[in-house]
Symmetry: C2
Subunit: 591 residues, 2 copies
């Protein structure tokens, strides 16, 4: 056997290999439909169908569904001339309700109109109409296969093929109701009780919460500026001690490789290839949870060195050139069918669409479909009809890519705005020096100190004097390092590594026999909350969990993190948030 | 302790009792959110929220969602003057596409218009706006609680209180994505592996398929014309032999008490009370799957004795009088909080709405909500927004009741039409005599024989002569009984008990050491399919299952059933179906 690892090597990509030994007992116990053998009768034209329990669509009270949808180029690809003001922010309606000066006009949105009748002219009345048939509410709102409506399925298949380019031939796509459902189904399809899954050392808590009740725990793999580290993955797998760990070596990996949650890291092609090859070697299934794929923002460039212009790529470039600039998916390297990829419309259309899809081998797709039949069934018909109509009739493939580019540019502006604010309010110095366990990240690292404070005018001097904290300088003439930061390269979040080692009440780990009732991280989070800023405490994302599912304080109780989101709300809100952060950090470290 | 069993007995209904010992290990292992203790900060006005990963609603491409919705009195409550013709059938678009004479105009639907903007004037921008706030897509399409949007929750609570009248005070409602999801969550919340659940001896196969992979099997309870029999329930529970059964006595019941699937039976108040009291005695949790509640059709009256007029109740009666005529829900007797009721919009709005709700105690509601957070999350926002807008702004409570009455009348016409067709094509005689194991039903039973056949004109005689099968008369001058039937009193299905004992190749059970490769039921189903009629084979609904989840042939392989749906399609289609049934039954029994 000489497996090929990319479609370039051979003309014909290989088929998925048999990985059925990865199925859980629960998944194996799912029955085939007893009607499978009689499928031929269901597809025979002219059959009188009195078998199913379908309501007549005449009784659906929705005669026609329509929507005003934003045009595909609603968001510009170049940097805006100035930071958006409240008057130009699309969220000002919310702001206005809280403010007294609500004279600000709502922004105008450029829209087109889509309409989906119950019985559109030319609709094909077959239970599974061909993908080119007009979308009919009579069908989309009916009971249907867990595979969703054909018009949407066909688009997702085309999109996946063009954008993610799976490296084997018989891959399939299958709709789900969002990546939380997708992962929840995947873990139940793959994992038996008392098993471990591999995960980034900080990861999405809801993913752990989906696995934990089935007694499936995470084994942490160290991360750096590209997300999961391949060297540590090998070391975890090679050095797995079944007895010490209390379970078998993991055969399933959960990873968020783009816009890693919470760190915002993006895993490049080389790292992905390394990790994939290790997973082949150790026979690990990769579940790639990739909701932020199109929110790739690239490296952060400080404001003074940033050139204005195309943030979301060259305006003139075509879809292929744009897609080539994005980090590839794991499935581009997947010549065996050992990746279950999860895509979601939550970040590209809306979370409430509750719509996404798997890309995986026929074996896994079939088992995941069986599971869907006995839980969610197909996704919501309103959502499928609207999204399919928008994607296939209004935007098309090219239009959707344009929309995604616009979104990516918007998130890039937002990322830049928040990291710029940190630069404005802290003394941020780039460094690649890893100074302690708290900074175990590869790539460029910024360290942040308090800035010299401007005094109110009229207090004399040159208008600046050293702040209290600035006065406590070390031998190099610099203040304490308050936190370090690798600016995110994708996604929605900034992840700060707070330098609690520099805190007056820091206790070295070795001497801390009794873990403190409240960690410094928790105290700091509460201080921020009391001052009016809510962030996500780093401990929430810890892959290591206690028996009750709560995050383990671990051995490093003095190290702490926080996650701040730049995805939502006014720029003014972010600014207020960073001002609170600055104030509370100063005060906290002066304790 | 002197529990009260109805709200009439005492002024104040009691609170739910502690039934936490029923929670499964998986359910108990679901963690509380680690943020629970800090909830106060999330609700504090003016907080700067950078914690969550919410996309800005400015990026939702739907600026406005609207629909033409049928008016609440779209369907008449009285019998139509004549059977609907193809020209007046709302589904004729489908028929037309297959027929060459597509001159038939599509029926006109009376509609109103609803519209849900992203940012409606007067919307409250809080993450959980008060129920009276206009529905905003900016909120409905956002990530939200697994409890759904407040406007919908408030309506469901009001509706449940008025219609189902729970007998304890602290009941809650919680949205789910349809009863398949609801039951799937309930079984995982209540059952550990190797357990049994109580179920009607014929039941919904998908419910069994949701439980089976977790090694949860059904213990069959006998049914009659009112569904599950209370005497047999007691006998199953009292006589439970742990060793012989291979598992503990069941502590969970799955039941479809109205429009029982597949039999169409409706369980009345007296039976429900008996069953509830037995469940209190044996500490059983009742999961009441009730999607057909508003398709209550009442007793079938043969056409010649049927008075035309109000099928769906008196036109003039008010909501309360209408509701009082319906069989009550189990929760009307539930003074302890041991019922988990499942309601669905699949039959009252559309299956594609993927929307329904639990009514249960706070203990179960909390665990079911946790499970939703790590699987489906909240239901689809498009669906929630549309259904809530329709129910709260367009129809209102009274309007929705009127819509439901119209639907009930439509299903009654359809039920009557199909049972009338059986009368036209078979010699149907009412009898209460239970003649064999196949007819173990209470209530009125019809037995069906072949009718004397009309000869083509010109073949002499009086135009009628005895059919071949008619000639094989028994001593009483009557032909073989082909099937028996209790006409359904609710729901979508007619359930025929085929009298295979009368079949030439019938073998008595005791002599059938080797079960036949193909049962008579299967042979008969195939004969119908070959002749162009698809029905659901009775064996699919058998509660007893083999280890692989397939229906057990059981000890009674000669007895068979079939389920025919009258919910869907043209009356002409039903007629063609019954003609095929008649022909194949004749031929099959002449073998």
């Amino acid at each position: 056997m000489s497996p090929t690892n990319s479609r370039e090597k051979y003309g014909e990509p290989p088929k998925a290999v048999d990985l059925s030994h990865h199925l859980s007992e629960v998944s194996k116990a799912r029955s085939l439909s007893p009607l499978k053998g009689y499928q031929k009768y269901f597809n025979r034209p002219g059959m009188i169908m009195l078998a199913g329990g379908l309501p007549d669509p005449a009784y659906f009270p929705i005669a026609n569904l329509s929507a005003d949808t934003l045009v595909q180029d609603s968001f510009d690809l170049s940097a805006p001339p100035a930071l958006p003001q409240p008057s130009s922010s699309p969220f000002s309606w919310l702001w206005n309700l809280f403010s007294s000066s609500s004279q600000v006009p709502r922004p105008t949105e450029r829209t087109a109109h889509i309409s989906i009748p119950k019985y559109p002219p030319g609709a094909n009345p077959a239970p599974r109409p061909p993908p080119g048939s007009p979308i009919a509410l009579a069908q989309a709102l009916q009971y249907g296969a867990a595979t969703g409506i054909p018009q949407l399925s066909a688009f997702l298949r085309e999109f996946t093929e063009k954008v993610f380019q799976p490296a084997y031939s018989d891959w399939e796509t299958l709709v789900h109701v969002g990546n939380t459902d997708g992962w929840s189904r995947a873990v139940q399809t793959l994992c038996n009780p008392h098993e471990f899954i591999l995960a980034e050392e900080f990861t999405y808590p809801s993913a752990l919460a989906s696995a934990h009740p089935f007694d499936v725990r995470a084994a942490a793999v160290k991360i750096d500026g590209q997300g999961m580290r391949s060297d540590d993955l090998r070391s975890v797998l090679e050095g797995w001690d079944e007895e010490a760990r209390g379970g078998k070596r993991p055969h399933v990996m959960y990873t968020v490789p783009v816009g890693q949650n919470p760190t915002g890291a993006t895993m490049g092609a080389k790292r992905k290839k390394e990790i994939y090859d290790i997973c082949v070697e150790f026979d690990v299934i990769i579940v790639e949870d990739d909701p932020y794929y199109f929110l790739q923002e690239g490296a952060y460039v400080p404001k003074d060195r940033r050139s204005s212009g195309a943030v979301g790529g060259q305006k003139e470039e075509d879809e292929e050139a744009f897609l080539a600039r994005l980090a590839p998916s794991f499935i581009k390297f997947d010549y065996q069918g050992r990746v279950i990829r999860l895509d979601s419309f939550s970040k590209t259309i809306a979370p409430g669409s509750r719509l996404g899809w798997f890309t995986c081998s026929p074996l896994f797709a079939e088992r995941l479909e069986r599971q869907g039949e006995t839980s969610t069934q197909g996704p919501c018909g309103f959502s499928q009809a609207l999204v399919a109509q928008l994607l296939t009739q209004q935007w098309g493939y090219k239009g959707f890519i344009r929309w995604l580019r616009g979104l990516g540019a918007q998130y890039t502006f937002r990322r830049d705005y928040m990291v710029d604010l940190l630069h404005e309010h802290f003394d941020m110095q780039p460094t690649t020096t890893v100074s302690s366990g708290a900074y175990g990240w590869g790539g460029e690292v910024y360290v942040a100190r308090a800035k010299a404070k401007a005094l109110p005018k009229g207090r004399g001097g040159n208008g600046f004097e050293k702040s209290q904290i600035g006065e406590k300088q070390d031998g190099n003439g610099k203040g304490k390092i308050l936190f370090s930061l690798i600016p995110p390269t994708s996604g929605m979040f900034v992840w700060l590594n707070i330098n609690f080692e520099a805190h007056p009440s820091f206790k070295s780990t070795s001497s801390a026999q009794d873990p403190p009732a409240q960690t410094l991280e928790e105290k700091f989070w509460l201080a921020l909350a009391e001052a009016g800023l809510l962030v996500a405490a780093g401990l929430l994302f810890s892959a290591e969990r206690d028996a009750d599912g709560s995050p383990s304080s671990g051995s490093d109780a003095n190290v702490g993190h926080l996650r701040m989101s730049f995805s939502f709300g006014e720029h003014e809100i972010m600014k207020k948030g960073i001002i609170i952060l600055e104030k509370v950090l100063r005060e906290f470290f002066e304790e």
